[in-house]
Symmetry: C2
Subunit: 239 residues, 2 copies
DNA sequence: CCTCCACTGGGTACGTTGTACGCGGTTGCA
DNA sequence: TGCAACCGCGTACAACGTACCCAGTGGAGG
């Protein structure tokens, strides 16, 4: 029981004191893994593949990262850092929350594999800590911590829910390996069958709506976001 | 190009015409897989393990299910069916949405592995179709399809977001294989270190809040849900 | 009635995964 | 000048999903 076994990645120092200079780095490995996951999905980012990407042997990665799960944690925190929250809170909470929501959505669209990570524990990496600090700071002056957590949950839930939907079709196409046209041709028979059965009138309305040109994704998102922010405003006024 | 290769599980018939009576069934296999996943996590529900659970050989499962991914789809749709939406819409939209939210949350708590599924495509199994039909029916008379989808996204996003948080700690404990007390002892040093650094005052407030006894999870959930429903009410009034 | 073959359960085997272990070389401190 | 701590990485292994093949089985056509 002398030396602690680290439970948490963030407590494990990257570099020890003595010995030869490491050739690679956690950041470099994480970057390579993200690059692969962006292009071919998280399941393509295997240890061997990542190692090959940076020109290392497979087992070399384990000098930098305790396990693949931990590496995924590093990846997740790394992309969290892409969300720009500098200067928050600015005093204009509506602008701040809008900027956060846009940034979160853009990040998810850049890194769709994030949807499949969402592991149980939040893990509180440095980027995520900063994000929490700034984001929760936006409403901190107006409401209690409990209330704040609830409102942020609604906001984040909305963004993640809608962006998941945006991602889904594209990811399914990529997974199947088919072209988009082929995939559409393959999957529509089932939808058609459901629609033709006549048992699902509302679902049918959704399908029809989805198949004709409508508002751009961005506009749809913005519209729903305004609803959520109105909800926040109501909560602030009530408090 | 004569016979179609099915893209979708739901288009593939379970039983062919001739030959000996199958000993097992899709439902039985799905049930066993859910049982294992509930107790030991989705990653424990391997094909061999599931087969052993029902007393079959590993490869026998493939007579019923084309692949493990498809089986997971079956599992997901099966647990969707646990959400009781009979008699919706009842005319009282607030009661309906509350019942749905409670049911969804309870289902997630029973089957925490659902958080790690959330695959890209919704897949539209029979239970999910029914759920969509009933749930979207609740607000169908009051708002447009677009508006309805947006409001439901907010609701579902809130439920999934908060329940994910509820699940996370428990799942992490299970994954680590440690007892809860051991796990707390292992992970708190990191949190303490973050708090003691003094760089994260708001995060510190969250930790303090979380560590003292507070409202029950249920009450917290209900409270936030009321906020979301108020938001829906505002949208209905504005339309 | 027999014959046929589409079906059954399941054993064996292969490719791929994460990663434990150990090697020989390199570096900073005593 | 050692020596212990570190490096990159080759080998090896267990567990995974699943392709392939087999011997049996039972309903349909004669």
């Amino acid at each position: 029981m002398a030396d602690a076994e680290y439970v948490n990645i963030w407590m494990r120092p990257e570099r020890p004191a003595r010995g030869p200079k490491p050739v690679y780095s956690r950041a470099q490995i994480t970057e390579a893994a993200i690059r692969i996951a962006d292009a071919e999905g998280l399941e393509a980012a295997t240890m061997r593949r990542i190692a090959a990407e940076i020109g290392a042997g497979a087992m070399s990665l384990y000098r930098y990262v305790p396990s693949r799960d931990d590496l995924v944690e590093l990846m997740a925190d790394r992309v969290m850092g892409e969300i720009d929250v500098t200067g928050m809170p600015s005093g204009d909470w509506r602008a701040d929350l809008t900027r956060y929501a846009d940034g979160l959505r853009a990040m998810w669209l850049r890194h769709p594999w994030i949807a499949t990570v969402q592991r149980s524990l939040p893990s509180f990496g440095p980027h995520q800590l900063l994000l929490i600090e700034r984001l929760m700071g936006v409403l901190d002056a107006f409401v209690s911590i409990d209330e704040n957590l609830g409102l942020v949950a609604i906001l984040a839930g909305y963004v993640e829910g809608t962006v998941r939907e945006e991602i889904s079709a594209a990811e399914e196409v990529r997974r199947s390996g088919l072209s988009e046209a082929e995939w559409m041709a393959r999957s529509s028979p089932y939808i058609d069958q459901v629609v033709k059965s006549g048992d699902y009138p509302i679902f049918t309305k959704i399908v029809i709506e989805a198949r004709q040109p409508h508002l751009s994704r961005d506009d749809q998102f913005r519209h729903g976001l305004q609803r959520v922010l109105d909800c926040v405003a109501a909560a602030l006024a009530g408090a």
